[in-house]
Amino acid sequence: MTDETVSVIEIRDPALDGEAIALQVCRGVSQRQTEGAYGPDPSALGPESLRPGRVVSVTDATTGFPGLHEALAGLIARGTLHEPAFVSDAPLVGPLIVAVRRFWNWMSTKWYMRPILSQQSDVNARAIRLISELAQWHELDARRLGQLEARVAELEAHLASLEAEAEL
């Protein structure tokens, strides 16, 4: 049994003999290798983007805009407007103040403020969507710019070497 097989297959059921099964797997692989049954390495086939070991960056450094995603998250979280709740710490009259303010708020918001809140929330949602789209384009542009800069540096280095050769 190879160490490779042991590390690839894991059987946790105590009623099964994991080692014996791994040995069977190993024998099967060896036999088919001998027969030449496997053919080309499957990991070498298919588009480059699906090859094992493809490196993807997990940072947002490519944006050149530190904190962009956090700012966007904050904006989205605050996009919908809500009526405030009234509270009062005043002793005795506090509940009365709250009741009056709630009543006045109800009077004023029901017919006038709520439609405005709704309109503004809608505007906010649309603005957030637009900013999200722009942020995506910005990231793509930042990435393309990085590639172009690298290409220019490469060409400049090549040009310098050609000039050096010409001077010789």
Binding site: E4, T5, S7, V8, I9, E10, I11, R12, D13, P14, A15, L16, I21, Q24, V25, C26, G28, V29, R32, Q33, A37, Y38, G39, P42, S43, L45, G46, P47, S49, L50, P52, V56, S57, V58, D60, H69, E70, L72, A73, I76, A77, R78, G79, T80, H82, E83, A85, A125, S132, A135, Q136, E139, L140
Partner: protein
């Protein structure tokens, strides 16, 4: 006092929607008033689930409980942040954004914002993950460990039993006499379908050319879809690999019934409901040892820790052909399913609600 639940989308057959409906049923059985909201309400749910904007009427009810199902970034997360009653977060996991990098910018940003927003929800009264894997992500996002817990997804087995079989489809799938590999889920990069296809490709070429791989799940990332199609073509598997797309419950049940092996190579899963469905339908599972998959499987199924395409394909062959091995794996899977039965989840839910003071006598 009322209990409200909010999800992003409510639609029949969706795992999170089913989970919400099952919680709703328990709440009502326990004598609690309960209602449900969603940003997107599918027509078949319109009589049970309300548009989430209507939840605004309950912002100022300090005795109410809001259960927020978080598995996708949505503006309704703001409702959870501002509501004045008790707040229970159920975290279904959001895929790390880097899996979408290079494939789909919008999904990448949505996931990125979604995961970053998680930390702003950490002051909730209680946060539950579908799995301990998800619970640990909650802790990493800043939720104090003592305010976290685990509530597995409800899988109501009577619902699966009640679904009929598409006999025409079953005949088509079974009639060829081919060995059928199955994988279920959205066609997205974190599920590493390229590895599923490559493992199957090795099996098909070297072990059994009378075999099919059925990939059941919605395709909505054109770049990733095109790359997978190109891989299938390069491996010469055009006739053997079938992308079935999103299918009805009836068709899904039929695919499980016709399957000889369930193969999953995901790098990131918060729970993986198809594993439970495979257990229920008696399909042996061969799964990558990653994220929450080992936890959901427990001692059941067979894991592969790395690739190894030849070894994994050979293991698949054993699971298909060795009757004693296959029977024991299926038996163990049934045992695991029993451990995750709805009664257990119901007890966990009851305990969680007790922690929030809903059942003061417990």
């Amino acid at each position: 006092m009322k209990v409200h639940q909010i999800v992003y989308g409510a639609m029949a057959g969706d795992a999170i929607t089913t989970h919400m409906l099952e919680i709703d049923a328990r709440l009502r059985a326990w004598g609690l008033e309960s209602d449900m909201f969603a940003h997107y309400v599918a027509p078949e749910m319109a009589d049970r689930v309300r548009p989430d904007r209507e939840y605004a009427a309950f912002f100022h009810e300090p005795d109410d409980l809001l259960i927020y199902h978080y598995g996708l970034y949505a503006l309704s997360v703001r409702y959870f942040q501002v509501t004045q009653g008790r707040r229970l977060l159920i975290y279904h996991n959001i895929t790390p954004a880097h899996y979408f990098r290079g494939w789909d910018r919008k999904q990448e940003l949505l996931c990125d914002v979604g995961r970053r927003t998680l930390s702003s929800l950490s002051d909730c009264d209680l946060a539950l993950g579908d799995s301990d894997f998800n619970r640990r992500e909650l802790v990493a996002a800043g939720v104090p460990a003592e305010r976290t817990g685990v509530l597995p997804i409800f899988l109501p087995q009577e619902n699966l039993e009640a679904i009929s079989t598409d006999h025409n489809l079953l005949d088509r799938l079974r009639g060829t006499g081919a060995v059928n590999f199955l994988t279920v889920g959205r066609v997205v990069p974190n599920k590493a379908l390229q590895d599923v296809i490559r493992i199957f490709g090795v099996y098909h070429r070297a072990i059994n050319s009378r075999s099919r791989l059925y990939v059941v799940g919605s395709r909505y990332l054109p770049a990733y879809d095109a790359a997978l199609d190109a891989l299938v073509a390069d491996l010469g598997l055009d006739e053997a690999v079938v992308f079935a797309g999103r299918v009805s419950d009836v068709a899904l049940k039929t695919y499980y019934q016709a399957a000889d092996l369930y193969l999953v190579a995901s790098h990131h899963e918060g729970f993986c409901v198809p594993l439970l469905e495979s257990m229920y339908f008696g399909v042996p599972i061969l799964a990558r040892k990653a994220a929450a998959i080992p936890e959901t499987l427990g001692e059941a199924g067979v894991l592969f820790a790395d690739l190894g395409y030849e070894q994994v394909a050979e293991m698949a062959h054993l699971l298909v052909t060795d009757d004693a091995l296959r029977d024991q794996v299926i038996f163990k899977q049934k045992e695991r399913l029993h451990e995750l039965r709805p009664e257990q989840t119901e007890a966990e839910l009851r305990r969680a609600l007790s922690r929030l003071g809903l059942f003061s006598s417990e």
